[in-house]
């Protein structure tokens, strides 16, 4: 097995035989010409033919990859008509009495050189465009065949580099993947591969020896690796990954836009957990109904000093706007000694899980807390935000939090800054909060059960210590009964209850949670559709 790495331009896994696409070397011969007018006419005709071919390519590409990506072939036609380009070719023919192929070749080199020498990555790439159009004209002039077609079975295309015209000309049903030695993520080929959803790697350091033709290979577009003649284990692993990927795509196709509803008609909210605004795209791609847990820690951890109200406002506003009216639940700062930013200056602790963290820091340092709340309230006008407080253990804490948030709202009103009244909820992640959930339910708008911390506090098992794994029962009845209790207490006060920990994505427990009456499950974006699939297969009437 040989392994080569490159840069992935599109994820996905392809398994199949290699097909080498080597550029037929067009050796251009310089010939003396007597009748230069005739030669110029020959060039003009070849240029027109080339333009017609490009016009057809444009139409083909428009259907396959959309107008914006097809536009390059329109540009190519304009390049062929460019006054300087044509003048240069005709000048060389006339002045040197040489053949058109040679004049086109020299002109192409000169123009390509002009682009290559620019200090602009995008413009450097355009040298490839000049070469591409010129090679086409030379091919027509010398009656050469077009680019090599793939015959036989769909293959992994391995090439030094691919011109955009070559990429589009390929029969897409015969292409499993593109792998090139050169090329950049700016190249049209990369853009086209992405649009066509074909796994593609560029910049792969592999020697294109003829022996590679027909060899079995696997392209892992996620890892940016191609394995030539993979061993059994690699092949089996990647086959499995590929099946999972296909399953995911099947779910996407079948389940996107569908309701999270059981066979007997019970609907559940399925939201996504995110740890960065960058994840918003995955949330939308996986069709989540909202964001059930927006971990705001990254705002602090990615900063070298306390993030300002304005910085935070912009982040929350973006989340609210992107989710366009879907609920976005922002969990306030959940930092502790195990996960801290230097500027917080927290003491080292023996037992950070039970230390000064999350809401405890916020209540000790109301200035930090108020800045975050102000940002959240200001952003509330741009969508449907909710706020959630972590690590709650007592009724007194909740009352204090509510006082502070009331102060924040009062200050905003005084400053004539508008905001929406948003839902305020708490995380239920300590046994103490579970036991007094009947009292807490009277104070807040919703509960979200954090099963990771709840499990570790209930079983007294540190999840960071692998030696304790054999004592850890993820489905421990104690935790499940606690969840049941929280649901009942929430519903008695008519507030909704969700789960945002790992257990929420555990498909073995979905039925039990629904029977308990859980209203919302918040999971990683990639679990949204598998969970929807599970929910739709359940029948709670049985």
């Amino acid at each position: 097995m040989e392994k080569y790495s490159g840069k992935s331009v599109y994820g996905g896994i392809a398994i199949g035989k290699i097909h080498l696409m080597t550029k037929r070397e067009q050796s251009i011969v310089r010939r003396k010409i007597e009748d230069t007018d005739k030669e110029i006419k020959r060039f003009e005709e070849a240029k027109e033919t080339a333009k017609n071919q490009l016009a057809q390519l444009y139409e083909k590409a428009k259907v396959e990859v959309g107008e914006a990506n097809a536009a390059i072939f329109e540009i190519h036609q304009m390049m062929l008509d460019d006054g300087d380009y044509v003048d240069s070719i005709e000048n060389i023919i006339t002045k040197q009495s040489v053949n058109a192929e040679y004049a086109v070749g020299i002109t192409a080199d000169n123009f390509a050189e002009m682009f290559s020498s620019m200090d602009d990555a995008y413009m450097k790439e355009r040298a490839a465009d000049v070469k591409d159009i010129s090679e086409r004209v030379v091919r027509i002039l010398s009656n050469a065949e077009g680019t090599n077609d793939i015959s036989g079975e769909p293959s992994i295309i391995l090439a030094d580099d691919l011109a955009p015209s070559e990429t589009v000309q390929l029969d897409k049903n015969m292409v499993l993947s593109f792998v090139t030695v050169h090329g950049s993520t700016n190249s049209h080929t990369a853009i086209l591969a992405r649009t066509m959803n074909i796994p593609a790697l560029i910049g792969v350091n592999i020697e294109l020896s003829p022996e590679l033709e027909g060899k079995m290979a696997v392209v892992d577009g996620f890892a940016g690796v191609i394995y030539v003649e993979p061993d059994e284990k690699t092949l089996a692993d990647l086959k499995k990954a590929k099946d999972e990927e296909l399953e995911k795509q099947r779910l996407l196709l079948e389940l996107k836009g569908q309701e999270n509803i059981t066979k007997d008609g019970k609907t559940v909210l399925v939201y996504a957990n995110i740890g960065n605004v960058k994840d918003l795209a995955y949330v939308l791609a996986n069709d989540a109904g909202g964001i059930g847990l927006f971990r705001s820690e990254f705002v602090y951890l990615e900063s070298s000093t306390y993030p300002t109200e304005e910085e935070q406002f912009l982040i929350y506003k973006k989340a609210a706007e992107t989710m366009a009216g879907k609920r976005v639940i922002i969990r306030t700062l959940d930092i502790g000694a195990d996960k801290q930013a230097d500027y917080f200056d927290l003491d080292k602790e023996e037992n950070p899980a039970m230390g000064l963290r999350a809401i405890r820091i916020c209540l000790n340092r109301p200035d930090i807390f108020k800045t975050q709340l102000r940002a959240i309230y200001r952003a509330s006008e741009f969508g449907k935000l909710a706020v959630m407080y972590p690590m709650i253990t007592s009724l007194e804490e909740v009352k204090k939090i509510k006082e502070i948030s009331a102060q924040v709202r009062a200050e905003l009103r005084e400053e004539n800054i508008s905001y929406n009244d948003i839902e305020e909820g708490i995380m239920i992640e300590t046994p103490a909060a579970v036991m007094i959930s009947d009292l807490l339910a009277k104070e807040v708008d919703f509960f979200s059960i954090g099963t990771n911390d709840l499990s570790q506090y209930t079983m007294a098992i540190d999840r960071q210590n692998p030696k304790l794994d054999s004592f850890f029962y993820p489905h421990h009845e104690a935790v499940l009964r606690m969840i049941d209790m929280v649901c009942q207490n929430a519903h008695k006060e008519n507030i909704w209850v969700g789960i945002c920990g790992e257990l929420g994505a555990d498909l073995e427990l979905t039925e039990r949670f629904l029977r308990m009456g859980v209203d919302e499950l918040s999971v990683s974006p990639s679990y949204v559709l598998p969970l929807r699939d599970k929910i739709r297969s359940l029948d709670l009437s049985k």
Binding site: A68, A71, I72, E74, I75, M78, M79, D82, G83, D84, Y85, F111, M114, F115, M118, D120, Y122, M123, R126, D129, V130
Partner: protein
């Protein structure tokens, strides 16, 4: 002769696609159209020249139009730049 200046706002600068559209628009007029950046002037009717200027976001270009339809051409091209670049 008509002349106007314009600062490119498109984050990608004058890249291939708008360059092509600009050249197409310029070529539809009889007037001579030139586009200049930092003293370097090229014909706006030739795509290689326009792309060769490698105009980036924030840079200023000067467009000069000379000929029988210069009024209309200058107005149209300025409008194009504002809408696309």
């Amino acid at each position: 002769m008509k002349e106007f200046k314009y600062v490119i706002t498109d984050p990608e600068g004058i890249h291939a696609r708008p360059a092509g559209e600009f050249v197409k628009a310029a070529a539809s007029f009889a007037s001579d159209v030139k586009i200049a950046k930092e003293g370097k002037s090229v014909s706006a009717k030739k795509i290689f020249g326009v792309m060769g200027l490698a105009v980036k976001q924030g840079q200023e270009i000067t467009v000069t139009v000379e000929g029988e339809d210069e009024e209309a051409a200058a107005a149209k091209l300025e409008e194009f730049l504002k809408a696309n670049l």
